[in-house]
Symmetry: C2
């Protein structure tokens, strides 16, 4: 193992957890970065804490950002989280759970922390396949952010650092992601996906995120360790 650091954006879901395992398997020491952005699903943050510990992260920074003040999303406003969407329709339109410029805001903080810690690699678990509706999950976007990053920070201008935005999941299906993670012995029981969990952290089983998660485990042909409400 080398002693290089990587910043890993960690939400506590399947994708970011698998991304963290990949970063670790690539030999990086992990600086985990989680955002508390007034989302409905605070249980995600507890999941992120447990996952950061599980992977022996060198540091775990939890940053509060008031995205709720800006609004525009079912995840941060009083708009109801949609339930029971027909799964084939997910991704054909941009869902109302889209948070404007979310990945741009998250990656900007990651960039700041990367410069301070001298971590050249920033891992983000975006996925262009399952979430084709989100513009900030596409390779064109990721490349443009990386290009901007290397013009934005002092150490890049001085030639001391070159930022790389790493997206190991970008072309994988949810089933492929789960299989990849199980191959690295991830305990997905630690992860959380639901947009609208119960007070004790059970998943609703009906929001888009739950539907994609369920289908992922089915297609991967492995048991789903999630605690769903009423199951």
């Amino acid at each position: 193992m080398n002693s290089k650091l990587a910043i890993v954006l960690l939400s506590g879901g399947i994708d970011s957890t698998t991304t963290m395992a990949i970063a670790k398997s690539n030999g990086f020491q992990i600086c985990a970065l989680t955002f508390d952005y007034g989302q409905r699903h605070k249980v995600e943050i507890d999941a992120a804490r447990n996952i950061a510990k599980y992977f022996g992260s060198r540091e775990h920074l939890i940053i509060e950002i008031p995205l709720r003040k800006i609004g525009g999303s079912a995840l941060t406003s009083d708009i109801a989280v949609p339930k029971g969407t027909i799964i084939e329709k997910i991704g054909s339109n941009i869902p109302i759970t889209y948070v404007p410029a979310r990945n741009t805001i998250f990656l900007s903080f990651a960039l700041a922390w990367a410069e301070v810690t001298n971590a050249e690699d920033i891992y983000i678990g975006v996925n262009a396949l399952d979430y084709s509706g989100y513009p900030d999950c596409r390779p064109e976007y990721v490349h443009a952010f990386e290009n901007m990053s290397n013009l934005a920070i002092q150490k890049a201008i001085e030639g001391k650092m070159k930022i790389r935005i790493r997206t190991p999941l970008i072309t994988m299906s949810k089933a492929q992601i789960i299989k990849t993670g199980l191959g690295m012995n991830i305990d997905y029981g630690l992860t959380h996906s639901c947009y609208d969990p119960s007070d004790i952290g059970e998943a609703c089983g009906a929001c888009e995120s739950c539907l994609l998660r369920k289908r992922g485990f089915q297609e991967a042909g492995v048991p789903d360790p999630t605690r769903y409400i009423g199951s």
Copy 2:
């Protein structure tokens, strides 16, 4: 006046205040955006509030972001603010008051708010001349951010919006900025520049920001309305 909205990043200093006046003179209704990022100079935020009112901003959003957690700057850490720098040397090196990725973080929030409010124009008072040390004040950086923005948000992808990052001061000297502002009847007594003010908001007169401000008024040949400590 048209009814188009522009987001204006407003710190409460000379540059952002002049930028706001320019946005207004260009016919925009103003959505002012200020960040409370744990800076030493909280008096800036009070200045921003007064300035947003003075210009009749349609909205003024003040967003708290914990940049202090990330560190790496004399403006957000316990590093001392340097005093008495020889003014000719300012800009020849990146100063320790540099905040990693600050403009990227600020512009990312502006981008989110722009999408929610349908404001295509984002004004930021960056200046490549006086602060040549800051990488995120240069035209190359601004263009890269703009390019990324139009790949990041739903409404740009759908062709409903095209984000423009407007930097009207980018090639002006501080004296030119002040003259431009006075030509639009700005009361610079409302603005605040000092990195290390007294408890009652007087400017120290010795930090880099005070030195550049003083020289700006001298070179513009107009009285400096700033209250300095002991003056």
